[in-house]
């Protein structure tokens, strides 16, 4: 049967199992939107800004593990996706972005709403395609989904000129995707696994360092079994939170700049680091010259590029974390490491993550209360900044895919649209966006989407009237020269919420926190926001200063009680 390009696109999306597309139309995108008009399987969610569409698709993908799809018109529509694509790329999130393009004949002519989208997005997508022939369209879409969801996952962009969207041909669904040059390695090398097992079985101070790769591989159960058999303590990256239970006795906390001192000291002192689905990011390793000098390193990752990129690895294993961990666990002997644990427990006692409840309402207290009230059973999205780190420190994530945050790129304005995407994905789940007053204002326009679709998202603004993380750096490292961080002239967030049709409340005292949270937990038909007026000069601690060794953390008591 003859179909137009746009209809082929929609049919391919349907066959790939896509049920929601987030996007905004525009001149060149009209053919695609016209085809979507007839789709019975795909719900079109019209966002307010393309960045919102990208983060919603991203939030959906992080909550489910399935690819999210966003759609934008040519030119400004496509360029507005850029931050969203870069965010997903840095965190290896499967996503498909479809952008309309000016007709093939006028590409390169500075046509109205033309941008070189392929050129712009090349370094921030796993791959991208410009479809110049309708015959290539179906197979391109198949390949795009295949690339986005296999190997190290990531966003793939398809740029579709409007003449191709309007052209017609006989549609044939390509049953198979054969890509001779793209074959990610899934099965780990058996000799390397054996070598790793030998190292693990003879180690005296092993540490497991796991990250977002565990979530992508769906290997949480396998990681837990591996940790329990080897008896090794577990530290997680920011993006790994939830891939190993936060309440597990072997969990040491988050690693890195704002991680627990115990997990950083354990990494430093360890004789064997088993890194799984993590990439030795600078926020985790601190100064590389001093990083884990005594440790041998086993590194399991699906992406060979991640191995020996910044830290020399002794036993690299390229492949899928799930199957490799299963095999590795079989070959490992049951260990308890009592001496090592005695040391770790000592650190845990000496360096708890704490804060001082005296004075104005503390943001950490709010997060603890959210944890208590929800018993941890919620999907927590965050923006980027101090509130994000406090959430990572004070909320214990037991389930995979319940912590959704922009780690690699650190995109302020990510949380609200991501929460909307997550709530679309999991209508029955309790979804929070924990935010700061700065981040919240970066994509606040998307609030109306939550109202329109009756999404009962809980928005928590930890409002300190400033861009807190930068203020903290200025306080600690820039002689308190607070340049460009004051945002105390701000909208009335309660009225703003109400103007959008959401519920709004304001809380500034500890004793009101619980009651207010209980109230918004009962609201089921619209988003609800609480503007928590919190202490302005509270810091995220411990903190490893940028460029310092991970053992050289500044502690809460050094700053707040000094």
């Amino acid at each position: 049967m003859k179909k137009k390009g746009a209809e082929i696109l929609v049919e391919c999306l349907e066959r790939e199992g896509i049920e929601i597309v987030w996007g905004i139309p525009g001149g060149q995108a009209i053919p695609i939107f016209d085809a979507l008009y007839d789709s019975k399987k795909i719900k079109l969610v019209l966002t307010k800004h393309e960045q919102g569409a990208a983060h919603m698709a991203d939030g959906f993908a992080r909550a489910t593990g399935r690819p999210g799809v966003c759609l934008a018109t040519s030119g400004p529509g496509a360029t507005n996706l850029v931050t969203g694509l870069a965010t997903a790329y840095m965190d290896s999130i499967p996503m498909i972005a479809i952008t309309a393009q000016v007709p093939t004949k006028i590409i390169g002519n500075d046509a109205f709403q033309e941008a070189d989208v392929i050129g712009i997005t090349r370094p921030i997508t796993k791959h991208n395609y410009l479809v110049k022939d309708i015959k290539d369209l179906a197979i391109t879409i198949r390949q795009a989904f295949h690339i986005a969801t296999t190997g190290r996952q990531g966003p793939v962009l398809i740029d579709l000129p409007s003449d191709i969207a309007k052209a017609e041909m006989d549609f044939v669904w390509p049953e198979e995707v054969v890509m001779k040059n793209y074959n990610p390695t899934y099965k780990g090398n058996i000799n390397q696994i054996k070598k790793a097992a030998e190292e693990i079985n003879t180690a005296k101070k092993p540490v497991i360092y796991a990250g977002g790769g565990i979530l992508s591989a769906g290997a949480s159960k396998e990681l837990k079994a591996f940790a329990e058999k080897t008896g090794a303590p577990v530290g997680l990256t920011l993006l790994g939170l939830g891939c190993f239970p936060g309440t597990h006795p072997q969990f040491m906390g988050m690693l890195g700049m704002h991680g627990s001192r115990t997990s950083n000291l354990a990494m430093h002192d360890s004789d064997l680091i088993v890194a799984v689905g993590a990439r030795f990011d600078d926020r985790v390793t601190g100064n590389l010259a001093h990083f884990a000098k005594k440790a041998k390193i086993v590194h399991i990752d699906i992406d060979p590029c991640s191995i020996s990129k910044s830290v020399r690895v002794d036993v690299p294993i390229v492949g899928d974390a799930k199957t490799i961990l299963t095999e590795l666990t079989k070959q490992c002997t049951l260990r308890k490491h009592p001496e090592w644990w005695a040391q770790i427990n000592e650190w845990q006692k000496a360096y708890p993550i704490l804060y001082n409840r005296k004075g104005a309402l503390k943001p950490q207290y709010v997060i603890e209360q959210i944890y208590e009230l929800t018993k941890g059973k919620a999907i927590i999205c965050t923006e980027v900044g101090q509130h994000q780190m406090w959430t990572a420190q004070f909320f214990k994530f037991d389930q995979p895919r319940t912590f959704i945050s922009s780690g690699g790129l650190g995109t302020m304005g990510f949380g609200l649209p991501a929460a909307i995407g997550a709530q679309f994905a999991k209508p029955g789940s309790l979804v929070f966006d924990i935010s700061g007053d700065g981040s919240f204002q970066m994509n606040v326009q998307e609030l109306i989407i939550a109202v329109e679709h009756k999404l009962p998202i809980k928005i928590i603004i930890l409002n300190n009237g400033c861009l807190g993380m930068v203020r903290q750096w200025q306080q600690l490292f820039w002689k308190k020269r607070y340049s460009g961080v004051d945002i105390s002239i701000q909208p009335d967030f309660v009225k703003l919420a109400e103007a959008y049709g959401a519920a709004g409340m304001r809380v500034s005292k500890e004793e009101e926190v619980k009651g207010a949270l209980e109230k918004i937990l009962k609201i089921n038909d619209r988003p609800a926001l609480i503007d928590f007026k919190v202490a302005r000069e509270e810091n995220v601690l411990p903190m490893v200063p940028a460029g310092a060794a991970i053992t050289e953390a500044i502690d809460y008591k050094d700053v707040e009680f000094a």
Binding site: I118, G119, R122, P123, K126, H127, L130, I147, M179, K180, N181, Y182, D303, P304, C305, S308, K309, R312
Partner: protein
């Protein structure tokens, strides 16, 4: 250390930009890059000469391999390979030194491919060492213009056995 990397890629638009972007995006400097068709019209071969320590080179190779359009990456540096570059050099001459310049060019098995009253244009092929040596000798006469293609390379069919295995 200098590495010569041969990359087989799909012969289609945008692939060169992907490869070049991969280097520039990571701050790796390309010394030379040549691209051309191969025996298979669907495949192009890029020969890239790049400097850097082993860890950077390992990363470059892996990143090249990761590109969807890459078919094969061969780091020639640890193999025997044939390496050639072509240069065109426009050198100033006068009645007094034409003979001397021709002699130098002949010794390097170069060819004079264009001639004017004041210049010779010399064509020479060889390894970059050979071309550098010729350039050095022509420098005193005055080089007006020059262009080099960058290295192209193929591995030798017969490879000496890995010394580690034989010893």
């Amino acid at each position: 250390m200098k590495h010569t990397i041969s990359v087989l890629v799909e012969n289609k638009p945008g692939v060169l930009a992907r490869v070049a972007g991969l280097f520039s995006g990571r701050g790796f400097n390309i010394e030379s890059l040549t691209v051309g068709e191969t025996e298979d019209l669907a495949v192009s071969r890029m020969t890239i000469v790049v400097g850097g320590d082993d860890m950077i080179l390992e990363q470059v190779s892996k990143q090249l391999n990761k590109l969807i359009d890459t078919i094969k990456v061969i780091d020639m540096t640890d193999k025997q390979f044939i390496n050639r570059e072509l240069a065109l050099i426009k050198v100033s001459v006068n009645a007094g030194n034409r003979g001397e310049v021709m002699q130098v060019v002949n010794i390097f098995r170069g060819k004079i491919v264009d001639i004017s009253s004041k210049t010779f244009t010399v064509e020479v092929t060889g390894t970059d060492d050979k071309i550098n040596a010729l350039l050095e000798l022509l420098m005193p006469f005055g080089i007006k213009e020059m262009v080099r293609t960058g290295a192209v390379a193929l591995t030798r069919e017969w490879q000496k056995e890995d010394p580690k295995k034989t010893s």
